[in-house]
Amino acid sequence: MSEIQEGFQCDILDTMDLVSERPDLLKDVIMHYCPGCGHSVVNRLIMEVIQELGIVERTIGVAPVGCAVFCYNYMDIDMQEAAHGRATAVATGIKRVLPDRIVFTYQGDGDLAAIGTGETIHTINRGENIVMVFINNGIYGMTGGQMAPTTLPGSVTSTTPEGRDIFQHGNALDIAKLIALLPGAYYVTRQAVNSAKGVRKTKKALMQGFKNQINGLGGVSFIEVVSNCPAGWKMTPLESNELLQNHIFNHYPLGDLKVPPKPAANKEKKAGEKI
């Protein structure tokens, strides 16, 4: 830890050492996210992807209610703040009237998998051509650490002080698994940003999702990021990353849940057949 703290104060002395630069689309402001939280990394990755794809002129993001409610303060793109759970309905409205635009939602587990489950399922079932970014940290961070739909059994939260008891509080909801079953889901993947390798893979997944939309490939690209919440979990960032690795990934295994079908060789469409 001491090395990191010392290094934190250092400027980059030699531009040759510069590995990664803040993308212009990520505003140069102090974020409200807690130290060590995965949100800030994902915010940045999305901006990198939009910048690299050159789609800022036609991209609209939809912010949720939850920890990412202020993400438009960091993402320098057109954004709309939705009511709790309604981000995908808002995104549907935008995408339907402006089909040439690139639309994405950025939602947490409470937003996407509890209060907004209906909107989530039906947006995906309609196969809206949008990107959904899902930050799953198994807790309501913004309101002070209450149980989320994705909270694992046994986990202590401010509303499950004895730990989540599945007979009283229900089971942890693996929404990505559910979503992958829907025909309208084009690409479903689960990633994490608790390691450098994970960050690179998450960026690749985001890039894939946005490319799917740009290419007009039908259906939702759903990128789940299993994230930490050091403040809500009441532990250090390092401990929270270890918990991800040693416990949480066992319940939410990383990797692709649904990949786009490979283009069939010369499969001719029948007359009148709908895509």
Binding site: Q80, A89, V90, I94, H122
Partner: protein
Amino acid sequence: MGNKVLMKGNEALAEAAIRAGIKGYFGYPITPQSEILEYMSIHLAPRGGVFLQAESEIAAINMVYGAAAAGVPVMTSTSSPGYSLMQEGVSYIACAELPCLLVNVVRGGPGLGTIQPSQCDYFQAVKGGGHGDYHLIVLAPNSVQEMSDFVYLGLDLADKYKNPVLILADGALGQMMEPVSFPDYQAHEHRADHSDWAARGRENNRPQHIITTLHIQPEEMEAVNIRLQNKYNDISLKEPRFEALKTEDADILIVAFGLTSRIAHKTVELARAEGIKVGLFRPITLYPFPYRHLEKISESIESILVTELNAGQMIEDVRLAVEGKVPIQFYGRLGGMIPTPEEILEKIRSMKQESRQKELI
């Protein structure tokens, strides 16, 4: 005006919306307004708009929120229980100051209620509905022709004030057929561009547009509220609309809106045939309510009868208008029941009788 065609109120409203330049319709089936949804599903896409049946009224209003934020002319329609579900979204749209058209074809409540016509959602429409200090511009048609006309008016007002506009109809107006003609209205001359604020991508590298209703600092939230209240004051000065019928020599004034005003119109004729001088005041904008105009007319009135298809909701605004200077009585039918002109006439007769007795004393 073009030739007259015979249409249902719901269909006339939907046709007018397409002619007025609506480019997005999001809705969910509910009686007695499903004809709007069905009409849109057939006619909107071939004429350049987008129709989508949502999974709920909650989703529908949030689709409207998204499309309106993109600066696109957009609408939804529903009936009472569905409109209750939309209230969260309506509050967001009002706070974000987005133009759009909402339609509530009211049915009897509370609860699941009945599918018969009612005016029991007056308070919800006029006094709030969702959370927070906001107002919609509320228009109350009383004919199939006005179901059409108020769509154009509503969209013009929505654009002018960047405010959601609600057409408050009822099941009878939605279902009944009457001749209607559609005006020569060039939608492209009316619909605003909104590119100065709409969130539709940072075209030409312009600064970011944010559509939000979150203002976490109370000073900022208060400033937003003050801006909204200034707008509402402006609207209440410039936009009250009403109709006054035979009020010049009237002793008794009936105040009624929407469907009830048509029934009361007949009552006025019946009463005058018996020599009772009755007039009719009909608010067309329920918000802004035409307080000053009603107050002025009531100066020469002996008494007022408010009649509504509810337990007495608009009567509160009538009381505010006349400030206790004129005695007010009420006659209402509830739960989807509609009074006949004769029923209201009976009430008028008893009011006349009372005033004669007072004169004798």
